[in-house]
Structure formats: structure tokens, C-alpha cells
Symmetry: C2
Amino acid sequence: MSVLECIRTRRAIRDFEERQVPEEVLRAILEAGRLAPSARNTQPWEFIVIRAPERLTQLSRLTSTGPHLTKAPLAVAVAMLKARYPEVDAARAIQNMILVAWEHGVGSCWIGNWDAEKAKALLGLPADSLLIAVVPFGYPREGTRVARKKQRRPLHTLVHREAYGTPYYKEGAGAGTPRGGS
Amino acid sequence: MSVLECIRTRRAIRDFEERQVPEEVLRAILEAGRLAPSARNTQPWEFIVIRAPERLTQLSRLTSTGPHLTKAPLAVAVAMLKARYPEVDAARAIQNMILVAWEHGVGSCWIGNWDAEKAKALLGLPADSLLIAVVPFGYPREGTRVARKKQRRPLHTLVHREAYGTPYYKEGAGAGTPRGGS
């Protein structure tokens, strides 16, 4: 699968089969995060692998958007320590992980909005750390993966030429003809 | 190239050949950004394609980390409008772009730390927008790509089991043997 194909087919998955994600697939996912770029290569991330069902259930109660956490066989929490740009660095590592998971047929869905103090306590995280996300991983339950078409703004509405306000692409025309010139 | 292979081989590139990035490759890069996930699928991003050398030079003066911007044939500025999580959403889109660029042999390097007001004025961006990064893209100059080995923390130092402080992997042992159990 090419990278663009992986990006194109990926969907947020919130319902998982019960079977576990094999260790070698988990390792590939964690490698993808480990190899991500970060500001000044500080790599200020810590990854916590959570498989214990009772911990996943406890965690799911500490966010408004995480009921599907209880359906996942596995989740990875990403916390940042002494990071200058915690959101950016975490997001790049997590995006890497999500793409490599998908390449292996494993779905995921970023969960944010944590009751931070309680979630950090549950995960034994230092007080000065920042919990950015908990990402459940698992095999999409039958039927989940063939989800509806991705809903996205077309390129001509969001790509500008040299400065904001001048569209780079013409509307229609295969939605990809550069406007004027090469 | 598999996604993990792309992630593994990618390097930050700061010196570029003069030749342009073809339109179809640029389009694949922008597609990768467009298809990225965002909080509640709000897609609050605007991408500005910059090729004009004088504009790249002007921009390079508005950050302390961007002298290589003048060596790039092309850059994409990413600005966020009314985003609830601008850094996270931008970083996920940019990471997608950087990976697909690399898949096509095109290198890049995230530039942040902008003199935001001046850079936004130069790019015609609305006052309430947030300029997250300008990312130069181009073919790595001969010799640049075969860079030194990636320097990263080993997995056993950054992956924890169930809670922070219990290593998931043993040190050594192929750096990938899970500690105790499956």
C-alpha cells in the first residue's frame, strides 16, 4: 500500500473485533511513533501501552468522547514531558502510528479532551507531564471499515497561490488543474 | 515503499536541487494534507503554495530557523482558521504531506517560530488566523539524502506497560522483546 493510498483509505474506527493486535504489529506502530520528527529532535514523548480491560474502562470515564475505548483490545496513551511544542510533536508521532496501524489493517481513533488530572493519576504520569491523547487500536469490526466516503473540502477551496485568497486550482476540471501556468 | 519504510527513511532536508516539484507531485502532497483527520472533521486549514523566489526570501527573514527556505523551489504555508486544536490538526495534515512528499523523493523540513504578524501580512492571511508552519519542499541535493542514521531514543526507554514507569520492552534482546507475557 502506498502512503497516499493508506491516507486515502484510512477511516476513524470506533468499533473493534475482540482479537488482540499481535506484538509485531504493535511494535511497528510504536516504531512509527518513535521515528517521528520533533522540534530540535527532543523526542519528548512517552507511550503507555494499555491492555487491561478494567483500566481501559476507567479511562473511558475520564473523557466525554471515549466510550469506544472499552471496545478496544489495546490503547496507547501519549504523554509529553518538558516539551516546547507538545501538541505538534505528539500529533506528528500519533499520525505516524495511526498510518502504520492502518497499513497493517488496524484501525484507531484519537481521543482527546481528558479530565487530565485524573487520567494522569490513573496512568502514573508525572504532574508536569501533558496527556495529549489516548489512541485505541484494534481490528475494525466487520462492516465498519467499508465506511462512507471521506467528507473533505475540495482542493480548490483550500489551496491558495502565493497568498491567501487566490485559488491555486480551478473549480471542477478534475478538481486539479492549476490555475494559469504550469 | 511501505508506510513504515517511508517513515524510517525520511530525513529533514534543508538543501534542495533547483528543479521544480512537478504539479502532479505537489497535488499528491496537498491531497495528503486535505485528507488528514481533524477534530470533529472541521478541516480548519488553508494551504498556501509559494513558488515566487522573492516571497520565499522575504519569508525566510521572518523566522530564525528558516534560511533554507531560500534554497527551496517551493513551500507550503499552513494556516488555521477558527480551529479549536490548531496545532494538532495542522501537525497531522503536515505530517501526511511530508510523508507523501518523501514517497515521491521530495524532501522537506518544518519551519516554525514565525514573526507571526509580519508573516501573516506577507501571505495575506486574516488577522484571526494562526500560521503554524511554512514547509519547504524540493528534491534533496545530491548527498543530502544519504544522511547519518536517525538519532532516536530506543523503544525500551519510552514505552511503558499499563502505567508510566514500567518498561514494556526489555533493554537489548533485539530491543523488542516484550517484558513478561505475550
